[in-house]
Amino acid sequence: MELLRPESAEAASAALGNGSVALAGGTELVPLLRDGIVRAEKLVELRDVVPRGFDGTRIGAGTTLAELEVDPQIPQALREACSLAASPQLRSMSTLGGNLLQATRCWYWRLNFPCYLHGGDVCHAKAGQHREHAIFGSDRCASAHPSDPAAALLALGARLHTTARELPLSELYRLPTDDNRDVTALEPGELILELDVPQPEASVYLKAMERRKWSFALVGVAAARFADGVRLALAGVAPVPWALSSPDALEQATPLPGTAYKVDIARALIRRAVEAVGAPRSA
């Protein structure tokens, strides 16, 4: 395997594809390479080309979770989501960009079962074990998106700047379809460079886990209060980070037999998160 170290984002973009894969902190990519889920002949190192650090409401996609979790400029929901992700060692390597693009933790997928998301015809989780799986958007694939920061950023209304365009975070994600099994809408070679993260009046991230620290979210709830209302987004409930238009929208959930309990957890967590951020000032 070869490691490329391009000097500009454009050069990095150009180098991608045809067996070349972008490498940021590597905490997600390296295990996937090891397990043969991602195959690559060349790794394109992003460290020198994707911005790192923050300035006002602009955050470089190369900033590590460890850097974000401690800075008071960063909205509380994002800080909390970062500090609750993974472990300190991983957070000091993990970049925000890599975090948004991490793959599902679904065991079937990670064990290379020929499931729907891998291009097959069936979702093994639905017929098998799916306690950790989705309550929304599970028509085809019932996986649960693991990113805590993504839920926070979604509630905060973040926008992305990529090498090709500017788009709201919600448009980064898509549900897999029969002709395209991707859960993100990045074009080949497109890199996430920066994020614009509006400052809310208040925000929180609450994360229900099976262990008191260092585990993925069963359900994570981000709430951000802006002058025009409270925005909600959830981790661990759908194949992509899931925005809710209102607390009542939870009742549209379509859980699997084994995930119905997540609706109960989400309901209580949403109530608590909304209480924690309080009513909009203008209201």
Binding site: W107, H124, K207, I265, A268, R272
Partner: protein
């Protein structure tokens, strides 16, 4: 009372002595078996089955053998001696022959200059499989095709059970199994598969001796029984195989069976180079046996005053693909099924079956953990039915010396069950903490999920017991060797004992015993290998302190007698070198039809513990916080009190893990969460403070009155934590681990 603050360097029996390995371990200087190195060594790698059950049609190694750096590629045809091995029954192929029976079963092995070369060569070994329907439901296993030809465990004096796939079944019939009570409660209880989750993966180094033999440096629990399994498979005499204990990073039963010992030896003898093997974490999950998952039905019949009349139990254990120590686990699960209570009538039926699930064997608590979870849930249920205080109910039935177990064995030694119950119940529980509090002091922990909303508090209680030492006629012994020599300041001693230090602190036991017996500070620990001293038996069954202390005491006393005979002193250059073997009192098998004791009795002695747990549960989210644990444990005599407290806390953590989060998940026999990302074990944040009381009632037949301490905390804590969660939620919680989905949605 908690662990004493001050420890000594060179203490004697009964004093708190600093662990010899403590500083090197916390400073990272301790050499574990994975740190071994030999000049010119090769790296071994194992090719494993991706199927839980399949026929092997062909193994094609042609491409792999020619690859860069590769020195050997071996399959079952290269096994020089016996093709199969096993702790109790030789039912497990060294390398699979014609058929694989579990996910991860070794099929071929490779040695290469570099571990990556070995791994790549392993990838190029083409194994053609024809997948077979796996037997994965233990309840159906006794009706499905046998996964082993013949019956590996037949003819071993077990009860005849003609059903396919039965490893062992036991029926214990005691008194009148139809006896009626005034109140009856019953329930079905389940436990998932727990992993030992030791932090040091399987690893070791095999070094050929140039004369056809091999030295194996390995992290193991029982050097001599490793040797006795390795040598026949290599076609060697036992003396040609020398097993040396290397740094052990945790064991908990998971190192009783062999892992890489034969494989590395085969590669070393084949290449005439030292060969090192180290499993990675995922591989470790398939590289050792686990705790048996269980499904247990129990019915308790009692008088209105709470006195038990009759206990009926049906226990089903899933042994997985190979027998390992399943037969003994089956015996334990049945013998202790009624708990530490006097019951005049009982009918216990227990079976362990072969399936294509991950193989199960020894793990801390060994069958008693499963039974304890069920019988204590039943005692809680009975208490609720009778409207009786749970502690009072347990005291009323507590087993005492002179009483009999359902096996008919009379308890003769020390057995302070009532005392541990009283002492644990008397420990004051902490007051509920005020709100607001830090998230870390609430259910949900760092996830910041509650400020107190939804939180209910519960208090649980449980009692459990098990045997110390091996049982059912197993002739168990431990050897120790003592050498005395003149030194500049008098006499110095070297003690050899092959007891495996697996983190439990047996090295200190050996040294403290020798210092006490010889009345000497100058005692050094000699090497522990199969060539320097006789067998110590296994570091398991909570037996090693008792047995090692017994053996070292005998050897020291013999050395002292010899010294006296020589006039009380040694000349420069003169030595005394004695080896002695200690046996505990003999045991005898259970009657194969009735499960009743024959002869002296099936067990040597018993140990018990009682535990009180305070937990908080956020009933809206199903998240928990264990707030506090108080326990009283029957230890006989604490040789090194500080180490005893350590065992109690560690054992509790492991039981708490099973109660709350630890479970190997399988799909059609494949392990789906073979990593520490997906198989969760408790962190220090999940562990509450522990208040431990040691109950020291000496065991009459044991050296210094010691018993064992490693297992009771694990046996009881799973049951006790579940009891507290039941109290907080009002739910039955019949399955562990208890997950949020079983708690949420409470009205």
């Amino acid at each position: 009372m908690n662990a004493p603050a001050r420890t000594l360097e060179l203490g004697r029996v009964g004093e708190s002595v600093k662990r010899v390995d403590a500083i090197p371990k916390v400073t990272g200087e301790f050499a574990y078996s994975s740190d071994l190195f030999a000049a010119g060594m090769l790296w071994g790698h194992t090719v494993r089955s991706p199927h839980a059950h399949a026929l092997i049609e062909e193994v094609d190694i042609s491409e792999a053998v020619g690859m860069a750096g590769v020195h050997a590629v071996l399959t079952h045809t290269d096994v020089p001696g016996a093709k199969a091995y096993g702790l109790e029954f030789a039912d497990q192929p060294v390398l699979a022959i014609e058929r694989v029976r579990y996910f991860g079963e070794p099929v071929a092995i490779v040695a290469a200059e570099h571990p990556e070369q070995a791994r790549r060569a392993a990838e190029r070994i083409r194994v053609a499989y024809e997948p077979l329907e796996p037997v994965v439901d233990p309840e159906r296993a006794t009706e499905q095709e046998p996964i082993h030809d013949g019956r590996p465990t037949a003819g071993h004096g077990f009860r005849d059970d003609p059903r396919p796939n039965v490893v062992r079944s036991i029926v214990i019939r005691h008194g009148d199994p139809d006896a009626q009570g005034e109140v009856t409660v019953s329930g079905v209880y389940e436990l998932g598969i727990q992993d030992q989750a030791f932090l040091g993966p399987e690893s070791g180094l095999a070094v050929p001796d140039g004369e056809g033999g091999v030295d194996v440096y390995v992290a193991t629990q029982w050097l001599h029984v490793d040797r006795d399994q390795v040598a026949p498979c290599l076609g060697l005499d036992p003396e040609q195989v020398r097993i040396h204990l290397s740094g052990v990073g945790g064991a908990f039963g998971g190192r009783e069976d062999l892992s890489m010992q034969i494989h590395a030896s085969m590669l070393a003898l084949h290449t005439n180079r030292p060969v090192k093997m180290v499993y990675n974490r995922e591989e470790s999950f398939v590289g050792h046996i686990h705790r048996h998952p269980a499904k247990i039905w129990m019915e308790h019949r009692a008088k209105r005053d709470g006195k038990l009349v009759n206990v009926r139990a049906r226990i089903l254990l899933d042994g997985g693909a190979y027998a390992s120590s399943s037969a003994a686990v089956t015996a334990n699960a049945s013998a202790f099924a009624c708990g530490p209570y006097a019951v005049e009538n009982a009918l216990v039926e227990c079976a362990c079956v072969y399936t294509n699930n991950p193989p199960c064997g020894a793990m801390r608590g060994f069958g008693a953990v499963q039974s304890c979870f069920a019988h204590e849930a039943q005692m809680d249920k009975l208490g609720a039915e009778l409207g009786m205080d749970p502690v009072e109910l347990r005291l009323r039935n507590a087993l005492a010396p002179g009483d009999s177990l359902p096996t008919g064995q009379k308890i003769t030694g020390s057995f302070p069950a009532a005392e541990v119950i009283r002492r644990a119940a008397a420990l004051p529980i902490p007051e509920p903490e005020e709100l607001p509090r830090d998230a870390l002091r609430l259910p949900g922990g760092s996830g910041n999920t509650t400020r107190g909303e939804g939180v209910r508090r519960g208090v649980g209680f449980a009692v459990g017991f098990k045997n110390v030492c091996y049982s059912e006629g197993f002739d168990d012994s431990t050897a120790a060797r003592v050498r005395l020599a003149a030194s500049d300041d008098g006499i110095a001693a070297v003690v050899h004992c092959a007891a495996a230090e697996v983190g439990q602190g047996v090295v200190n036991v050996i040294l403290q015993t020798a210092r006490t017996e010889l009345d000497l500070d100058e005692v050094v620990l000699g090497s522990a290998t199969t060539s320097s001293v006789g067998s110590a038996g296994s570091a398991s069954a909570s037996r090693m302190t008792w047995m090692a202390a017994g053996a070292v005491q005998l050897a020291c006393r013999a050395a002292k007698d010899e010294l006296e005979r020589r006039g009380g002193d040694l000349e420069h250059g003169e030595t005394i070198d004695v080896e002695r073997v200690y046996h505990h009192r003999p045991t005898t098998p259970l009657d194969r039809e009735t499960g009743q004791v024959t002869g002296d009795g099936a067990h040597v002695a018993y140990i018990c513990a009682a535990m009180r747990v305070v937990a908080e549960v956020d009933v809206e989210l199903g998240l928990t916080r264990v707030v506090w644990i108080g326990t009283a444990q029957d230890v006989g005599k604490a040789v090194n009190p500080q180490a005893v407290y350590g065992q109690i806390e560690g054992g509790i953590a492991q039981g708490l893990g099973l109660a709350l989060m630890e479970e190997i998940q399988t799909q059609d026999g494949l392990i789906t969460n073979a990593s520490f990302t997906d198989y969760l074990i408790p962190t220090t944040l999940d562990m509450p403070p522990v208040e431990a009381q040691l109950v020291e009632e000496p065991e009459p037949d044991a050296p210094y009155g010691v018993k064992g301490v490693g297992e009771p905390p694990t046996v009881v804590s799973t049951a006790a934590v579940a009891s507290a969660l039941r109290d907080a939620t009002g739910r039955q919680l019949t399955r562990v681990p208890v997950r949020p989905d079983e708690i949420v949605g409470l009205p």
